[in-house]
C-alpha cells in the first residue's frame, strides 16, 4: 500500500474527525507513515506534506504553529526551489513569527550563496520578532560569522539547538543549510518590511489552489517591459481616435480648401473673363473719369479763355454757375492762383494754352512748390495764358497752389473745392481725378508750401523775369508732368468742364465775395470761397440759396480747415476714395481747378475779368499772414504792379497794375514789412479782393452776375485787406475801390491788379517770412490796417442783401472775423 493510497484513505477519514485540532490527525498520520515506510523511501512523502501544507495554508491558527511550520519546512525540502516555497508560504502568513521558517529560509539562501538574501531573511526574522528570538539571534550570529570568518565551532551546538527548536521534527534541513553557508560580512541593516502579501510567493497557491483567469486584457497591457493601466490603454485608443478624427478633419479641410481653390480659380477665370469683357467698358469709364479731369482742366482753361470773357461778361453767371462747388473751390484756388495767374494773364493773356498748361500747372503747381518753380512767373503766364497761354496757367496754378497751400493751407481750399466738386458731377470727376492724380499734387503743394515760399521768392524773382519764369514753368511743368497724370486728367476734363470753369470762375468770384466779406481772414476767404464754390458747384441758384450757402460755407470751412490739415495727408491719401479722395480729390481738382480757374480767371482777368485773382487775393490775404506765399506773390505783385494799371487796358497791363498794387500793398504789408513780401499772398489776396471787388462790380454790371456778384462784391469791400492794401498804395486802393465801384472796368483791371498785387507781395515777401500765417497778432495787425478800408467801403450793404450766408462771416469785423476764422480752423482741426 503506497503512500498515495494511505493519504486517500486518511483524507477520507478526516471528515469524520471531530476535535479542535485538525492538525493532530495529520501529525499522527505522518508519524504512522514514517514508521511504516522504509527509511530511504521519503520521496513519496511529499504528497503527504504537500496536502498537509495546502490544507492548513490559509488557516491562521496554524500559521505559526511550530508543528505546521516544520511540516512546511520538510515539504519545502521536496521542492526543487525551496526558496520559492518559503516565500509563498511566508506570503500566506505561515511562519512569519516562527524562527524555524526564517532559519530554514535563510539557510536555503545561504546554501545557494545568496548571502544578502539570507541576511535579509534573518533581519526580517528579527524585525518580525520571530520566536524563539534566541534561535534567530544564534543563527544570525552564526551566519554572520560564517559570512565574515570561518564559523566558530562553539556556535554549532547552538545551531543544532536552533535546528531542533525550529524544526522539532526535521532538524536536518537547517543543519544542512548551516553547513554550506559561505562566510560573508553582514550587510548593512536595511529595513525591508515583508508582510504577508501576494507578492511573497504564490507559486504553490496558484499551483495548488485555484486556476484563475484574468478577466482583463492582459496582453494589451504589456508595454515595454511594463504594464499599462486600463486608462493608459484607453487613452491610447482615445488619442488614436482623436488623431484619426483630426486627420479626417484635415482631409476634409484639405478637400474643402481644394474645392474652394477650385472655386476661386473658377471665379477668377470668370472674373477675368468678365474683366476682359469689362475692360473695354471699364477702361472707357476710367478714361472718361480721367478725361473728365482733363476736361475739367481743359474746360477750365477753355472757360478761362472764355472765362475772361465770361468773367467780364458773366461773372455773375460764373458765380451762379460757380454755385457748383467745384467752381467755388476752383475759384478759390483760382483766386489764389489767380493773383499770379492774373499777373501771368496780364502778361501772357493766353487762356487756352493755359488750359493745357493748367493741367500741367496743377501738377506743376505742386511741383512748382516743391521744385521752386517760379510760380509767379508761371502765374503770370497763366494769367496771360490760362485762357491764352497754357504754361502761364500752370505756373499760375502752381504759384497759386503753393501760395494757397502755404498761406491758406491750400488743402482746405482743395477740400472745399472737392466737397463742392463732389456736389457737381464735374467736380466729382475732378475730385476723382484729383484724388488719383491731383491729390498728390495738392498734398505736395501744401507740404511744399513752406518751401514754396522760398520758391515763391525765387519764382517771384523769376517772375520778375517772365521769360525766365516761363522757363521755370517748363521745369515746373516737367515736375507737374511727373505729378502730371492728374494734370493730364484735368486737362481732359477741362474740355468737358468748360462750363464748370465758368462755374469755377464764378466760384472765384464768390471767393472774391467771400474775400470781400472777410478780407482779414484768409480762412474765411477760403470758407467763403468754398461756400461760394459749393453753391456754384451745386448750382448757382441753389448754391445761392442761403441754406445751401450756409451749409456750403460751413462745410467749406470745415473742409478747408480739414483740407489744410489734410494737405499733408492728402499726399498720402489723395488718391484714396471717398472722404480722403474727396478731400484730396477735391483738393486736387481744386488745384486743377485752381490752375484751370486761375488760368481761366487769369485769362478772364487778363481779358476782362480779373475776378479769378480776387479769390487768390482772398487766399492771399489769408496767406498774407504766411509770408512765404506773400513773398512769391510779391514778386508777382511787382510784375503785376507794372501791369495793374494796364489790366484795365490789357491783361498784361492789368497784371502790371496789380503788381503795382501789390507793391502798395506790400508797402502796407511791407509795413508789415518782410511779411508782406512773404505775405504777398495776403497782399495779393488783398489786392485780389480788390480785384474781386472790381470784378464783382463787373459781375454786378451784368445783371445776373450782379446779383451773384453783388454779394461777392460786398465781399471785396469787406476785404478791407484789399482796401488797406489800396490805402497803402493809393493806386492800388484806388484800383481796388475802383474795381468794386467800377464793376466792369475795374473788375477787369482788378483781376489784373490782383496778379500784380501778388507780385507785390513778392517784393514784400522777399523781405518778410511769416512763421505763423495765422498768428493772431499778425492777422490783427494786418486786419487793423485793412479794416478802415472795409468800413470805408459801404459795399457791405449789398453783400447782406445778396449773400446773407456769406455776410455773417463778412459782417464780422476784421479782427473778429479773423478770430472766427481761427476758431473755425481750430474747430476743424479739433474735429
Amino acid at each position: 500500500m503506497d503512500i498515495a493510497s494511505y493519504l486517500q484513505s486518511f483524507e477520507s477519514r478526516l471528515s469524520s474527525y471531530v476535535g479542535d485540532d485538525p492538525l493532530d490527525p495529520w501529525i499522527k498520520f505522518v508519524d504512522f507513515l514514517e514508521q511504516r515506510l522504509p527509511a530511504g523511501n521519503t520521496s513519496e512523502m511529499c504528497l503527504v506534506f504537500d496536502s498537509l501544507v495546502q490544507r492548513f495554508l490559509n488557516n491562521e491558527r496554524y500559521s505559526n504553529d511550530i508543528r505546521y511550520v516544520n511540516y512546511c519546512i520538510r515539504c519545502a525540502s521536496y521542492y526543487w526551489d525551496p526558496v520559492a516555497f518559503y516565500s509563498e508560504v511566508f506570503g500566506k502568513g505561515v511562519g512569519t513569527r516562527t524562527a524555524a521558517l526564517y532559519v530554514a529560509w535563510a539557510q536555503e539562501f545561504e546554501q545557494r550563496g545568496m548571502k544578502e538574501q539570507a541576511d535579509a531573511v534573518y533581519r526580517k526574522a528579527l524585525e518580525n520578532q520571530a520566536q524563539p528570538a534566541s534561535t534567530v539571534l544564534h543563527e544570525y550570529s552564526q551566519f554572520s560569522s560564517r559570512t565574515t570568518v570561518q564559523p566558530l565551532g562553539v556556535q554549532n551546538p547552538l545551531q543544532n539547538l536552533t535546528n531542533q527548536m525550529s524544526s522539532s521534527k526535521e532538524p536536518l534541513e537547517p543543519s544542512k543549510m548551516t553547513w554550506e553557508c559561505p562566510s560573508k560580512p553582514p550587510a548593512p541593516r536595511m529595513t525591508i518590511i515583508v508582510s504577508r502579501s501576494e507578492a511573497s510567493g504564490s507559486l504553490s497557491s496558484q499551483s495548488s489552489s485555484d486556476q484563475t483567469v484574468s478577466e482583463y486584457i492582459k496582453d494589451e497591457l504589456l508595454c515595454d517591459g511594463s504594464e499599462l493601466s486600463f486608462e493608459e490603454v484607453r487613452a491610447k485608443k482615445y488619442f488614436q481616435q482623436l488623431q484619426h478624427k483630426k486627420r479626417e478633419e484635415e482631409n476634409k479641410l484639405m478637400e474643402r480648401q481644394l474645392q474652394e481653390q477650385e472655386e476661386r480659380i473658377r471665379r477668377m477665370k470668370l472674373s477675368l473673363e468678365e474683366a476682359e469683357v469689362m475692360e473695354a467698358c471699364g477702361g472707357l469709364t476710367e478714361e472718361f473719369s480721367h478725361q473728365d479731369g482733363f476736361y475739367w482742366s481743359l474746360a477750365k482753361p477753355g472757360s478761362g479763355s472764355a472765362g475772361p470773357e465770361c468773367v467780364t461778361e458773366t461773372p455773375v453767371a460764373l458765380l451762379q454757375t460757380s454755385v457748383t462747388q467745384n467752381g467755388l473751390p476752383s475759384s478759390l484756388w483760382a483766386a489764389d492762383a489767380d493773383a499770379p495767374a492774373q499777373h501771368s494773364a496780364t502778361r501772357c493773356g493766353g487762356g487756352h494754352p493755359a488750359e493745357s498748361e493748367e493741367k500741367l500747372d496743377v501738377s506743376q503747381g505742386g511741383a512748382a512748390n516743391l521744385s521752386h518753380a517760379t510760380p509767379n512767373s508761371s502765374l503770370g503766364f497763366v494769367q496771360a495764358t490760362p485762357s491764352r497761354v497754357l504754361p502761364s496757367p500752370t505756373v499760375n496754378t502752381r504759384e497759386a497752389l503753393g501760395v494757397v497751400m502755404d498761406m491758406f493751407q491750400a488743402p482746405t481750399f482743395l477740400e472745399e473745392p472737392v466737397s463742392d466738386s463732389s456736389h457737381l458731377n464735374a467736380s466729382e470727376r475732378d475730385l476723382e481725378d484729383g484724388a488719383s492724380g491731383g491729390g498728390p499734387l495738392w498734398s505736395r503743394l501744401p507740404e511744399v508750401a513752406p518751401f514754396t515760399i522760398f520758391q515763391d521768392h525765387e519764382e517771384d524773382k523769376e517772375n520778375v523775369h517772365l521769360a525766365e519764369a516761363s522757363a521755370d514753368r517748363k521745369a515746373v511743368r516737367c515736375l507737374a508732368e511727373v505729378a502730371a497724370p492728374k494734370a493730364d486728367k484735368p486737362n481732359e476734363t477741362s474740355q468737358y468742364l468748360m462750363p464748370d470753369e465758368s462755374t469755377m470762375w464764378g466760384a472765384r468770384f464768390n471767393p472774391l465775395n467771400s474775400l470781400a466779406a472777410c478780407p482779414n481772414n484768409t480762412s474765411e476767404f477760403a470758407l467763403l470761397a468754398h461756400c461760394v464754390s459749393t453753391p456754384f458747384t451745386h448750382k448757382p441758384l441753389s448754391s445761392f440759396s442761403e441754406d445751401q450757402e450756409n451749409i456750403c460755407s460751413e462745410d467749406d470751412a470745415s473742409i478747408r480747415r480739414q483740407t489744410k490739415r489734410l494737405s499733408p495727408i492728402i499726399e498720402q491719401s489723395p488718391n484714396e476714395d471717398k472722404a480722403s479722395e474727396t478731400a484730396a480729390s477735391l483738393l486736387e481738382p481744386s488745384s486743377v481747378r485752381q490752375g484751370t480757374i486761375v488760368s481761366a480767371g487769369l485769362a478772364s482777368t487778363s481779358i476782362t475779368m480779373l475776378q479769378p485773382p480776387p479769390p487768390a487775393v482772398l487766399s492771399f490775404r489769408d496767406q498774407t499772414p504766411a509770408p512765404a506765399d506773400s513773398s512769391v506773390r510779391s514778386g508777382r505783385g511787382w510784375e503785376v504792379h507794372a501791369s495793374p494799371e494796364p489790366p484795365l487796358q490789357l491783361a498784361c497791363l492789368g497784371s502790371v497794375k496789380p503788381k503795382t498794387r501789390p507793391f502798395t500793398i506790400l508797402e502796407d504789408t511791407s509795413s508789415s514789412s518782410g511779411d508782406l513780401s512773404q505775405v504777398p499772398m495776403s497782399q495779393e489776396s488783398a489786392l485780389q479782393p480788390g480785384r474781386f471787388s472790381a470784378r464783382s462790380p463787373e459781375a454786378s454790371a451784368e445783371p445776373d452776375l450782379d446779383a451773384l456778384l453783388s454779394p461777392l462784391r460786398p465781399v471785396a469791400p469787406t476785404k478791407a485787406a484789399d482796401i488797406p492794401m489800396s490805402p497803402e498804395q493809393p493806386p492800388l486802393c484806388a484800383d481796388v475801390p475802383m474795381s468794386p465801384q467800377q464793376s466792369l472796368v475795374s473788375t477787369g483791371d482788378q483781376p489784373m491788379m490782383s496778379p500784380d498785387r501778388e507780385p507785390r507781395p513778392h517784393t514784400a515777401g522777399g523781405v518778410y517770412v511769416v512763421p505763423d500765417p495765422w498768428d493772431n497778432q499778425l492777422i490783427a495787425h494786418l486786419l487793423s490796417r485793412l479794416s478802415p478800408p472795409l468800413t470805408s467801403h459801404q459795399c457791405c450793404f449789398a453783400w447782406s442783401c445778396n449773400v446773407p450766408n456769406i455776410s455773417p462771416k463778412v459782417t464780422i469785423t476784421m479782427g473778429e472775423s479773423a478770430c472766427e476764422c481761427r476758431m473755425e480752423k481750430e474747430r476743424k482741426t479739433t474735429s
Binding site: S229, R234, F239
Partner: protein, 347 residues
C-alpha cells in the same frame, strides 16, 4: 430608458427611488440613479468635504467633462455645473473648503475649478506623455508628484501621499512642510496596481493604505505596523467562484477602493460589476453586491458616510472591442450607513 425619465421617477418621491427602477441588470441593487450622468465612462467620483453644507457630488468622465450635482436628502440629484477639459478627465477632488475642485485630465493639465465663479484655471500643465491616473491634488495645497516610474494611481490624505507606480513600486510621501519622499515600499501585490486609498487610524491620521491590484486582490498595508507580519495582509476580491477550486477563477480588476469616513471599513469596486464592503480590521467581507451589467469604475463615500456612490461604466478592462458607446453610464447612490458598520472579529 432616458436618464431624465428615471430622474423624474426619483423626483416623485424618495421612497420610489428603489421601487421604480427597472429590473434590468444595470441597477440590480436598486440604488438611486444620479440624473444626467456623463456621456462616457466615469473615471472618478468625489463628494464635497464636510465643510460644505449639503452634499455635492462631482464626477469626471471620458467625455472630457466634470459634472457637479447636488445630492439632496431624499436622494434626488440636481445637476449644478459642468466644466470641460480638452481631454478625458481622470481624477477630481475637492479643496478642503469645498469652494474649488481640482481636476486632472488626459489633456496633460490639471485645473482648479472655482465653483463660485465657475471658472477653471489651469494650474498644472504636464509635458509628460501620460498624465495617468494620478491625482496630484492635496487637501489644501496642490501637490504635483513626479516619478521616475510610470504612475498608476495615487491618493492623498494630508499629510500623507501614496503613489503606486509600475514595477510594483510604492512611494510614500510626507507632505508636511516641504513635501518629501518618505519611503519606498515593495508592493505586497504581484500584479499591476490599480487603485490605492489611504486609511486613517482612530486618531484620524493616515496610517496606511489599501492597494488594489489589477488581479482581484487588495493589500492592506500599514506604514508603521506594530506587527508588520500580521497587520499587513492581502485579500482576494472581485473574483468569480471564490470557493470553487474545480473551475478556473475569473479574476477582475479592482477599480477603486474607498474607506468609510466613520467606520473605517472599506468598499471595493471591480470590473466584475460588483462592489464589496470589507472590514479590514475584522478581515471579513461585509457585503458583496449583485453584479451589474457594466464594470464599476469609481466609488466614494460622502463626508458622513451615509451615501455610497458608485459609477457604472465601462473601464476598458477588456479593451476596445468590448466598448459599447451606446451603453448608458450610471452613477448610483446607496445608503451606506448600516451596511458598512464593522463587525466584531470572528477570530
Amino acid at each position: 430608458m432616458s436618464l431624465f425619465g428615471s430622474t423624474s421617477s426619483f423626483g416623485t418621491g424618495g421612497s420610489g427611488v428603489f421601487g421604480t427602477t427597472t429590473t434590468d441588470s444595470h441597477n440590480p441593487m436598486k440604488d438611486v440613479e444620479v440624473t444626467s450622468p456623463p456621456d462616457d465612462s466615469i473615471s472618478c467620483l468625489a463628494f464635497s468635504p464636510p465643510t460644505m453644507p449639503g452634499n455635492f457630488l462631482i464626477a469626471g468622465s471620458w467625455a472630457n467633462d466634470v459634472r457637479c450635482w447636488e445630492v439632496q436628502d431624499n436622494g434626488q440629484t440636481v445637476p449644478k455645473a459642468q466644466q470641460m477639459h480638452t481631454g478625458p478627465v481622470l481624477d477630481a477632488c475637492w479643496s478642503d473648503d469645498g469652494s474649488k475642485v481640482f481636476t486632472a485630465s488626459c489633456d496633460k493639465t490639471a485645473k482648479m475649478w472655482d465653483l463660485n465663479s465657475n471658472q477653471a484655471i489651469t494650474v498644472v500643465s504636464v509635458n509628460e506623455t501620460e498624465t495617468s491616473h494620478c491625482n496630484p491634488l492635496d487637501k489644501s495645497t496642490q501637490l504635483q508628484l513626479y516619478h521616475d516610474r510610470q504612475c498608476y494611481c495615487a491618493d492623498v490624505v494630508y499629510p500623507m501621499a501614496v503613489v503606486a507606480t509600475a514595477e510594483r513600486g510604492l512611494i510614500v510621501y510626507q507632505l508636511e512642510n516641504q513635501p518629501s519622499e518618505f519611503r519606498r515600499i515593495d508592493s505586497p501585490l504581484k500584479h499591476q496596481h490599480r487603485c490605492v486609498a489611504i486609511f486613517k487610524d482612530k486618531q484620524n491620521k493616515p496610517t496606511g493604505f489599501a492597494l488594489g491590484s489589477i488581479e482581484g486582490r487588495v493589500a492592506i498595508h500599514y506604514i508603521n505596523p506594530q506587527n508588520p507580519a500580521k497587520d499587513n495582509f492581502t485579500f482576494k476580491c472581485h473574483r468569480s467562484n471564490g470557493t470553487n477550486t474545480t473551475t478556473p477563477q475569473d479574476i477582475y480588476a479592482v477599480n477603486a477602493i474607498a474607506f468609510h469616513p466613520v467606520h473605517g471599513t472599506l468598499a471595493t469596486v471591480g470590473s466584475d460589476g460588483r462592489f464589496s464592503f470589507w472590514d479590514k480590521d475584522a478581515r471579513t467581507k461585509l457585503k458583496t453586491s449583485e453584479q451589474l451589467d457594466q464594470p464599476i469604475t469609481a466609488c466614494c463615500f460622502n463626508n458622513n458616510g451615509n451615501i455610497f456612490a458608485y459609477a457604472s461604466s465601462y473601464d476598458w478592462s477588456k479593451g476596445h472591442e468590448y466598448y459599447n458607446p451606446q451603453k448608458k453610464n450610471y452613477i448610483f447612490l446607496r445608503n451606506a450607513a448600516e451596511e458598512l458598520k464593522p463587525r466584531n472579529k470572528k477570530w
